[in-house]
Every structure is written in structure tokens, then in C-alpha cells.
């Protein structure tokens, strides 16, 4: 009887320890995972090396249209991708449908054009590398020497 009770207690203890380890691992891994979900890239002519989240958000909402040196900002989006979704959620604080409607409102009141959008990473990267002032995002971990990486603080 005592032996059985001991085994149950020991089993529960092991389960608790395993759960605690899993939670610790998840939380320690989370910032890395989130940080790795997207990378902000820009044309090499862009003098800025880092942007605040707030400035990045303003760029993708059309409120910030000029870099510090006066170059016009052209932002592009990687549509219909998990990267698009996580970037919007983390930086722009909108869901894809809210973002879509925001720009449709701008378009149909004459305030802006629709953002340039790409379905694949290569076309997006090529566009950014060929256009002064262009900025966009790609999945985290992807590097391309034709563009520069901008840190989002």
C-alpha cells in the first residue's frame, strides 16, 4: 500500500518537474522564435541601420514617408504569408484583414495608392535591392547580400 502511494507520489513529482521544464524551455525559446519570424530589409542606399517599432509601424501605415535624409520611403509587403501575419501583429498591430481594409479606405478616399505587394521572397528582395528608399520584410534567417538588414528596436 505504502509502496503504491510512493510510486504515485513519485510519478506526480516527475510530471510536475517535466511540465516545469517544458514551460521554462518554451518561455526561454519564445523571444528567439518571435524575433526570428521576420527580418526588416531595405535598399542599401538607406542610411538608417535601426528603427523603433513605432517608426516601422508608421512606415507601413503610410504616416512616415521620408527617411531622415529626405529620401522617399517605398514599403512593400509579402502578402499571404505567415511572415506577413506575424509582422502585422507584432509591428503594425493589425490583423491582415484590418490592414487590408485600412489601405482600401486610404485608396478609396484618394489618400494613397495600394501598397506594392509580392507573393515570393525573391521578387520582393529584388525589388528592394533595385529601388532607392525601399523597405520590406522577409522571414527571419533569410539573408541576401543585395539588401541591408535594419534592426527593429
Amino acid at each position: 500500500m505504502f509502496k503504491q502511494w510512493f510510486h504515485v507520489q513519485r510519478g506526480q513529482q516527475l510530471l510536475t518537474q517535466a511540465a516545469a521544464l517544458l514551460v521554462t524551455l518554451l518561455f526561454s525559446a519564445l523571444p528567439t522564435l518571435v524575433a526570428a519570424e521576420y527580418t526588416l530589409i531595405a535598399n542599401k542606399s538607406v542610411a538608417t541601420n535601426s528603427l523603433s517599432k513605432s517608426d516601422t509601424r508608421s512606415i507601413f501605415l503610410g504616416d512616415k514617408t521620408l527617411w531622415k535624409d529626405g529620401t522617399v520611403i517605398t514599403f512593400v509587403i509579402l502578402e499571404s504569408s505567415p511572415t506577413h501575419e506575424s509582422f502585422l501583429k507584432d509591428i503594425v498591430r493589425k490583423t491582415p484583414s484590418q490592414f487590408n481594409r485600412y489601405w482600401k479606405k486610404m485608396l478609396f478616399t484618394g489618400k494613397a495608392s495600394t501598397p506594392k505587394s509580392f507573393d515570393d521572397i525573391n521578387s520582393l528582395t529584388k525589388y528592394i535591392s533595385n529601388n532607392h528608399g525601399a523597405v520590406g520584410y522577409v522571414p527571419g534567417g533569410i539573408t541576401d547580400s543585395s539588401v541591408k538588414i535594419i534592426m527593429v528596436k
Partner: protein, 391 residues
């Protein structure tokens, strides 16, 4: 009506080659538009917002638009939009220039627009014609009255706009427009006034100030429209026409919007003040109405969204019981208010197509002034359906 519609569809067809060139493909000229067809079923005595929506309901409930724009230089753009809408007794698909302006953005904090500019008033007025960009079919009527559309749509003149971060306090955006607002006797307002001539408003000012607060997802705004205008009406056809004057005519709206992931909660409160001189020696009539609403919209998944609002409107905010209805030449207290509970189901079967179903339970008829107020029911219902394709 058919002639106007045929012309509009002809324009759409002739622009089809341009539509094939998407903006991402490097085209300088962008062409976009929407086609929206609705159905409205109200009650025989309370037909709203379509004049023939009693009985089996009405299909005279559509909006079409097409716009062309071009980024001329990195800081200068120009464009225009033509719309045609039908609401049964008014609209009738006649073509009108919705907006047409040049826009020079000197810096983020200062841009200049010249032409016919959409009026920002509350969170939704500027985009009110485009059903696709919101949840509900009918916006809360106390603040976005269908019959006022022409009077609050766009202003001919000039404006400045811009935005600036304010450190840890968030971001401020502003818009200020001046000019005159074109309205005509064929509008819903003109018909309600029995107008034979209306023209444009006199010098008008319009402003909107948005504050994106440091609280994530919380936006606060204040906006206003101030004007005066005149018209000529034949109240009784056999009598000579009289000239009347609205001086002043002021609207103010306070807005609050909170977004938490897929949930958007909105609260707005607005006031409308105007004095009417009927020009027949009768005392100047002072109108002091107000309205508020609370709405919630939740995006359930990629193709389904549900939304609801409750809206109250009072003709006289100083006498909410409406017992002074006779001062307004009304018939009873139900003419002095309108309370509306609405529920909307929105389906997005494709990215550019929305289909909506909407029900309203309404108490009072203070905003239903295109139908004789004397015979209207105090409690009534309205069902709407609408499909919109956007390109």
C-alpha cells in the same frame, strides 16, 4: 436611371485594359473601383432608407465607383473618383464626382490638397460610400444619416494635413479643410426640404484630430464641420417659393476606438446644432440634436465576421422625452428620437468580395423624414443584404 447606369458600365468596360495592369506590375496609373448591390426590406409605414422598401422590399440599393490616380512625382499625386448610387427616391444612379484632388506631401507633418476632398467627420464619414471597408451595411444613423450624405460628403476647396509623433504620448494626425460643399435639390436633403434650388454651402470649415494614444490599440479623435447654407423651397406648390437659411450649421463628433486583436470596439458621440430662418417671418427655429453609439466587431476567421451596435439619436438633446414635439411641427414623441439595435453577419468568400446580412430593431423615427412622420410606427424593423466586389 438606365441611361446613367449604361454610361457608368460603359466607362468601366473602356477602362478594363487599364484594370489588367496591377500597381505591383509597375503601372503609373492606378484604376480601382467597387460594385455594390443591396436589398432592403423595411415596413410599409416606415420605409427606410429606400423609398420603396416596404412590401416585398427593394433592390434600388446600390453603389458603384471607379477611381483613377497617379503618383506624378514622389511627393505629388492626383486622382478622382466617380460614384453612382441608387436609393430609390434619390440618387438614381446619376454620376457624380465623389472626390478629385491634387495632393502635395511636403513632409510627413505637412501636406496640401486642392480640389474636391472627402470630409473626415467621425471615424467613418470619409469612407461611408464603400461598404467593403466596414462591418455594417448601414452606419449608425444618428451620426452617419443616409439622408445627409450629400451635405457631408466632400468639400470643394483646399486643405492641409499631416502627422507627428509626440514621444511617449503616441502620435497625432490632423486634417483641416476649407471651401464649400456642393448639394443639390435632387439629394435626399433637398427632397426633404421641398427644395427647388440649393446650390452649395457658403464658406465651410472641416477638421479632424486623431490621437493614437500610448495605450496599445486605443485611438481617440475629434472632428467637426461648420457651415452655413441657403435654399429655396416650395413648401406648398400653389404658394410662391420662399428662401430659407441655415446659419449656423455645426457638427462635432468625438470618437474612441479600441482594437484588441480581432475585436474592435467603437464609441462615438456627436452633436448637430443649426438655426433655420424660414424667411416667412416665423421665429428662427433652433435645432440641438445629439447621438451616440457603441459598437463591437469580431473577426471570427478568414471568411466570417460578426458585428453589432446600439445607437441613440435625439432631435432635441435638451428635451430627451420629446414632449416638445409640437415646437418642431412633429406629431408625437416617437418623431423626436430613434434608437437602433443592429446585428451584422459579414462573409468574405473571396478576398475582394463581401456578402452581408443585417437586421435592425428600431424604436422611434426621428431620422426617417423622407416619409410622412404622421403615420409611422414607433417600433419597426429593417432587414438589409448587400454584396460588394472591390477591385
Amino acid at each position: 436611371m438606365k441611361k446613367h447606369l449604361a454610361r457608368f458600365l460603359g466607362t468601366l468596360v473602356s477602362l478594363t485594359p487599364l484594370l489588367m495592369v496591377g500597381p505591383a506590375a509597375g503601372s503609373d496609373v492606378e484604376v480601382h473601383g467597387f460594385v455594390s448591390q443591396g436589398y432592403a426590406k423595411s415596413e410599409d409605414k416606415n420605409q427606410y432608407p429606400i423609398g420603396d422598401s416596404g412590401g416585398y422590399g427593394s433592390l434600388n440599393f446600390n453603389d458603384y465607383a471607379i477611381n483613377v490616380s497617379k503618383q506624378i512625382t514622389p511627393k505629388l499625386r492626383a486622382g478622382m473618383q466617380i460614384v453612382a448610387l441608387d436609393r430609390g427616391t434619390y440618387g438614381k444612379n446619376s454620376l457624380q464626382v465623389d472626390w478629385a484632388y491634387g495632393d502635395y506631401r511636403y513632409q510627413d507633418w505637412l501636406g496640401v490638397r486642392v480640389g474636391k476632398i472627402k470630409i473626415p467627420l467621425g471615424l467613418y464619414n470619409a469612407s461611408r460610400d464603400n461598404d467593403y471597408v466596414r462591418n455594417s451595411i448601414l452606419l449608425p444613423q444618428g451620426l452617419y444619416t443616409e439622408y445627409y450624405r450629400d451635405l457631408t460628403n466632400s468639400i470643394k476647396g483646399a486643405g492641409v494635413y499631416g502627422n507627428t509623433p509626440v514621444g511617449s504620448l503616441g502620435k497625432i494626425s490632423y486634417e483641416l479643410n476649407i471651401g464649400s460643399i456642393p448639394i443639390n435639390e435632387d439629394s435626399a436633403l433637398g427632397k426633404a426640404m421641398g427644395a427647388t434650388a440649393m446650390g452649395s454651402t457658403n464658406f465651410s470649415t472641416n477638421y479632424k484630430l486623431d490621437w493614437e494614444t500610448p495605450i496599445s490599440g486605443l485611438k481617440v479623435a475629434v472632428s467637426g464641420l461648420h457651415s452655413t447654407w441657403t435654399g429655396t423651397s416650395s413648401w406648398v406648390p400653389i404658394l410662391p417659393a420662399t428662401n430659407w437659411e441655415m446659419d449656423p450649421w455645426n457638427r462635432k463628433v468625438y470618437s474612441l476606438e479600441y482594437t484588441l486583436d480581432d475585436l474592435i470596439v467603437t464609441f462615438e458621440y456627436g452633436q448637430e446644432d443649426f438655426d433655420v430662418d424660414y424667411g416667412d417671418g416665423s421665429p428662427i427655429q433652433k435645432w440641438r440634436s445629439d447621438s451616440w453609439y457603441l459598437s463591437g466587431v469580431y473577426r471570427v476567421n478568414n471568411w466570417f465576421e460578426v458585428g453589432s451596435y446600439y445607437n441613440q439619436y435625439y432631435v432635441d438633446r435638451n428635451h430627451r422625452d420629446g414632449k416638445n414635439f409640437a415646437d418642431y411641427f412633429y406629431y408625437n414623441t416617437s418623431n423626436m428620437k430613434q434608437h437602433d439595435f443592429a446585428l451584422t453577419l459579414r462573409f468574405d468568400p473571396m478576398e475582394d468580395l463581401s456578402v452581408k446580412l443585417e437586421g435592425h430593431m428600431i424604436e422611434g423615427n426621428g431620422l426617417n423624414w423622407l416619409v410622412d412622420l404622421a403615420g409611422q410606427n414607433e417600433n419597426w424593423h429593417l432587414f438589409l443584404a448587400k454584396a460588394t466586389y472591390i477591385f
